[in-house]
């Protein structure tokens, strides 16, 4: 028996050792990807938090969309050169770019566009609104809608729901409910190789119809840890970081250090604000004087300076005023006025009767809990700052951090007092004033956010008819109403931070935080 056993063991040991050697030598055999680029090859190496195929930013290099969107939210031409909308907003006629080819050589014409649109509609939320799709000629796509759907062009500008894919990109080929298996698009870069969680290699699409990129090759390298990203950037293993993220991956506190190390850092605002959302169904926050008071109690200027070295701008409106339908005309902006805050709270009946430093009303102290979804950037630091600011006016805030899925579950059930999150931005309707969004009472994620019948009526009116000048007026009304009601505490503008080495030039911020404009970038 023992002899037999020894035989077993030897076999197992030998097997293990040889497996190890094989795996190690297999590793050696692969070409070293740190090897310098072939002479003269213009290579850009991106350090990214996510895997290439899991990030919209990566997909957007390969796939384009029918329309794009500018910084403010105006639709701009992309694969559709122009479009006409019927008066009732139910018929869209897209005039397609001519001379566009997919990466595999397939011509992008009306029939390919029809396939792509139907594939998109099959999984996009607007799919149920779509009626007929026609191709009157080779360069025209005509869409008939059953009902008017206001955010169509914004939805089509989203790389997440609406990439224009090639009929050969799906399995089974040409099926409108096929699964996307091949990354074949019309974009400025072609995907060459992809290794899960590791890297993707893309080369320039030399037949690109638009602005041809200056770099010849892009390598997307997945580096999940932000500190490891910074080391990789400093060590020259990647050329740029942060550009591949829509949520800033570079901690704001690291920015001064990066600049000192000779790294260039650009911060771009996309009008996405970090906000503290009130649960307006809770008794404490059912009073707009209380909500406004808390809004006035926070010194945002000091907050961004002390926590983030002044990198992001403080926010005094619910969303960025410069969006097309943003709160540009509101009279009531928030500021810092602790005296007024105290006065408002007193008016609402909150007084410190027992002298413990905490306000109370009907024998109950003003105490509540801020719910923080784990991973919400900067939320911990911000929460502690807000906590100390509120304490000064006699309000006690406790902090509760939950794993993000669990936290959002509570939000969906309205089981929180206050919730920290980041507001809607393009290509969705900014600020949460769309139908079914945060401030509409049919919102499923936000049943306990501020809702009112009049607000619902205005929201439905704004997005229920295609007259855009009328819409702007109604949106102004909506914003005026919301700012007076103070449904949330906007804190600061979450800027996207991009850092790159001095061999990179020509960086230009993309119109939305989900895109990268790599066309203008040059690498020495």
């Amino acid at each position: 028996m023992q002899l037999k056993m020894k035989g077993y063991l030897r076999a197992v040991t030998i097997a293990l050792i040889s497996l190890f050697l094989i795996s190690a030598s297999a590793g050696c055999a692969k070409t070293d990807d740190k090897a310098p680029a072939a002479k003269g090859e213009k290579l850009l190496r991106l350090g990214a938090v996510k895997d290439f195929k899991e990030a919209i930013e990566g997909q957007n290099l390969v796939f384009e969309r029918f329309v794009g969107v500018d910084r403010k939210g105006n639709p701009v031409p992309q694969l559709a050169e122009s479009w006409d909308v019927s008066k009732d907003g139910k018929i869209y006629t897209f005039h397609l770019q001519k001379g566009v080819k997919f990466h595999n050589g397939t011509v992008f014409d009306a029939s390919a566009a029809k396939f792509a649109f139907q594939w998109i509609a099959n999984q996009a939320p607007f799919g149920s609104y779509v009626g007929r799709v026609e191709t009157p000629d080779d360069n025209t796509l005509k869409l008939y809608f059953k009902e008017y759907y206001a955010p169509l062009l914004l939805d089509l500008a989203s790389g997440w729901t609406s990439p224009v894919i090639c009929p050969e990109a799906v399995e089974p080929v040409g099926s409108v409910d096929g699964k996307l298996t091949n990354f074949i698009g019309t974009g400025p870069f072609k995907l060459v190789t992809y290794e899960k969680d590791k890297q993707a290699v893309l080369v320039r699409n030399d037949n690109y119809w638009g602005n041809k990129p200056k770099v010849e090759k892009v390598i997307w390298k997945t580096i999940p840890d932000p500190h490891a990203q910074i080391v990789a950037l400093k060590a020259g293993e990647v050329d740029t970081i942060g550009i591949t993220e829509h949520h800033s991956s570079i901690p704001y506190v690291e920015v001064p250090g990066l600049r000192k190390a000779g790294i260039k850092v650009e911060a771009t605002s996309y009008g996405r604000y970090q906000v503290l959302e009130f649960n307006c169904q809770k008794e404490q926050f059912n009073d707009k004087r209380v909500r406004l008071a808390l809004n006035l109690a926070i010194d945002r200027e000091k907050m961004v300076k002390e926590l983030f070295g002044g990198l992001p701008e403080p926010a005094y409106t619910i969303t960025a005023p410069w969006f097309k339908y943003g709160p540009s005309n509101v009279k009531q902006k928030y500021g810092y006025d602790p005296e007024k805050a105290k006065q408002l709270l007193a008016e609402a009946g909150w007084k410190d009767t027992d002298g413990d430093g905490i306000l109370d009303k009907n024998g109950k102290p003003f105490a509540f809990e801020l719910l923080i979804p784990a991973g919400e950037a900067n939320a911990d630091a911000v929460a502690v700052f807000v906590q100390s600011e509120l304490k000064k006016i006699g309000v006690q805030m406790k902090l509760l951090t939950l794993e993000s899925g669990a936290a959002w579950d509570r939000s969906g059930k309205g089981e929180y007092d206050m919730f920290v999150h980041h507001s809607f931005c393009l290509p969705s309707i900014p600020g949460g004033i769309g139908i079914g969004q945060k401030y509409h009472s049919k919102s499923k994620s936000w049943p306990a956010a501020y809702h009112a019948q009049e607000l619902d009526r205005l929201i439905e009116k704004a997005w229920g008819n295609p007259d855009e000048s009328e819409r702007k007026k109604i949106c102004d009304e909506i914003w005026e109403m919301l700012h007076q009601e103070a449904p949330c505490i906007p804190l600061y503008d979450i800027v996207k931070v991009v850092a790159y080495r001095d061999n990179v030039s020509g960086f230009k911020p993309a119109p939305t935080m989900f895109d990268m404009e790599l066309q203008y970038i040059e690498v020495k």
Partner: protein, 313 residues
């Protein structure tokens, strides 16, 4: 021996099924909806209600708990583990695409730890309470206590940034292997040293060692041949569980060094409530645990001839 194998394999099937059933039911009852979580992660925006409904419908997520379990079992009997909700790829492919990297890391870490830890542990045991023994004990205590993420970042700063000798992330060459292996091996080696030391010290007090000494055997032979073999049984057990852990993925080191292994993907899937991935991965990881333990049991027989599995039953 054959009996042992059959017993183990049968119990392995149950262990695997129960483990994945438990993990599924725990996650199913935990707050958080896969559709909402995944859509929010991917698009970076609050998903619309229609989007969530559509996603749930497409992935059969609105069915009752037991139906989903049975569905999964049905797939399993056809040799399938389902499709990841997050990536849309088959779960088995997601596993095999990453297991190579995890296996490489695990084997290298175990090899390095044993090569370094075993001799040092034995050496410390032969000189109990000497200065060198104290130094080894303090150093190994420090090694156990250092958190991996900190050590990893420090090594990275030192060897990648300041010295520029090694790449700070990635996978593929032996140079990429060095930092993650060292980071993981420090803790394992340190605990191995302490374990070997105590284990040998215990054995050295036994009668048969005295006999060996009385026979006039050289100390080297006594310690390395007679004592070590006996002392190894608990050590092997510990190494087995550690190897099992490593094969399930070293999440922190994988994250810090961008190592494309199973651990980080698995944890991300838990955050995303990606049920099929969690069930499938737990099933496979449970299987590797059973396998490693079986190997350990087989090693016992070799180390200690008194262990006879036939005799026991």
């Amino acid at each position: 021996m054959r009996r042992l194998l059959i017993q183990r394999l049968v119990s392995a099937v149950f262990v695997m099924l129960i483990a994945s059933f438990l993990s599924f039911s725990l996650l199913f009852s935990a707050p958080g909806n896969p559709a909402e979580t995944i859509l929010r992660q991917q698009s970076g925006l609050d998903p619309a209600y229609d989007e969530i409904e559509l996603f749930m419908k497409r992935h059969d997520l609105s069915r009752p708990f037991l139906v989903q379990c049975l569905q999964w079992l049905y797939l399993l009997t056809h040799g399938k583990l389902g499709v990841s909700l997050r990536t849309g790829e088959p779960v088995l492919e997601e596993f095999t695409a990453r297991f190579g990297a995890t296996f490489q890391l695990a084997v290298a870490v175990m090899a390095l730890s044993v090569i370094i830890g075993l001799p040092i542990g034995v050496f410390a045991a032969t000189k109990p309470n000497s200065l060198i023994d104290h130094i080894i004990r303090v150093v190994s205590l420090a090694g156990i206590s250092i958190p991996e993420f900190w050590l990893g970042l420090m090594l990275m700063l030192c060897f990648s940034l300041v010295l520029g000798w090694l790449p700070c992330f990635g996978h593929g060459t032996v140079r990429h292997l060095v930092l993650p292996v060292v980071t993981l091996a420090v803790g394992i080696t340190a605990s191995l040293i302490r374990f070997v030391r105590t284990s040998i010290l215990e054995v050295l007090n036994l009668d048969y060692i005295k006999t060996a000494k009385a026979k006039g055997l050289r100390e080297v032979v006594i310690v390395w041949k007679h004592a070590l073999k006996n002392a190894l049984i608990p050590v092997v057990t510990i190494l087995g569980t550690q190897l099992g852990h490593l094969l399930a993925g070293a999440v922190i080191v994988e994250t810090v060094f961008s190592w494309p292994g199973v651990g980080k993907f698995f944890v991300d899937s838990i955050y995303a409530r990606d049920y099929p991935v969690i069930q499938g991965f737990v099933l496979i990881i449970a299987a590797t645990y059973v396998l490693v333990n079986l190997l350990v049991d087989i090693l016992y027989v070799y180390l200690d001839p008194r262990v006879r599995y036939e005799g026991r039953s």
